[in-house]
């Protein structure tokens, strides 16, 4: 009998500006073990090539609103990793 599948969830990750340049992409479908928080997503991104250029705790948004690193993520969430903001 196969081992029961580890629960997982898939989110859509968006990178911008210097972070998109560092990792070489702007969007990524990422599957992480469930339950997960924004920190879980960041850890996985930091393991990708160029990911070491992301800070340990970058500014993040979940579904178009700023969110703290410990916030839980859900299947289908849009997670944005935001470089230091420079509007105005």
């Amino acid at each position: 009998m196969p081992a029961p599948a580890t629960p997982s969830l898939t989110v859509r990750v968006l990178l911008f500006a210097s972070y998109a340049e560092a990792l070489g992409f702007e969007t990524l479908e990422l599957t992480v073990p469930s339950p997960a928080t924004l920190s879980t997503v960041i850890e996985q991104l930091r393991a990708l090539p160029g990911g070491d250029q992301l800070p340990l705790k970058p500014l993040c948004a979940r579904n178009l609103a700023h969110a703290p690193a410990e916030e839980a993520v859900a299947m289908g969430d849009e997670i944005a990793v935001l470089p230091p903001l420079a509007g105005g």
């Binding site: 210097s18 903001l85 420079a86 509007g87």
Partner: protein
């Protein structure tokens, strides 16, 4: 797009949008592209945004200001390539009296800088191009 635009920003229509007979004061702020940054000559800027969130965050900021003071707010932020002197951001706040208009206008522009997901890449006169990181220069700002 209500708040973020690729078109040049003109303050006059923003002021017209918030003016009303009962509002005796309009405070406005324009943020322009500066020709220098930390001692280096700047030729132009590229602004980019996380569009849907920038719209949402601007909407939240305007709603907060309009909830906290008796004001009506107009706000625009430009994206794309801007030349020195171009308007990058404009805010106008209209109220019955000037105190609330000034306070709300100040609040809106400070929160835009703090919260709205917009980035800028500066092209310097020496040929280098750099993503601006305001947090990197806080210690000598």
């Amino acid at each position: 797009m209500r708040f973020v635009t690729a078109d040049p920003i003109d303050l006059a229509p923003l002021i017209a949008a918030v003016q009303a007979p009962e509002r005796g004061g309009v405070a406005s702020f324009l943020g322009l592209v500066r020709n220098h940054h930390e001692g280096r000559g700047v030729l132009r800027l590229d602004y980019s945004a996380y569009g849907p969130m920038a719209e949402a965050e601007c909407g939240r900021i305007v709603a907060e200001a309009e909830g906290r003071w008796r004001v009506t707010i107009a706000l625009r932020h430009r994206v794309g390539t801007l030349a020195v002197g171009d308007v990058a951001v404009a805010a106008a706040a209209a109220s019955a009296h000037r105190e609330e208009a000034f306070a709300a206008c100040r609040y809106v522009i400070e929160e835009v800088k703090r919260r709205v997901p917009i980035w800028k890449r500066e092209h310097y006169a020496d040929g280098t191009v750099v993503w601006v990181d305001p947090t990197a220069s806080l210690q000598h700002a």
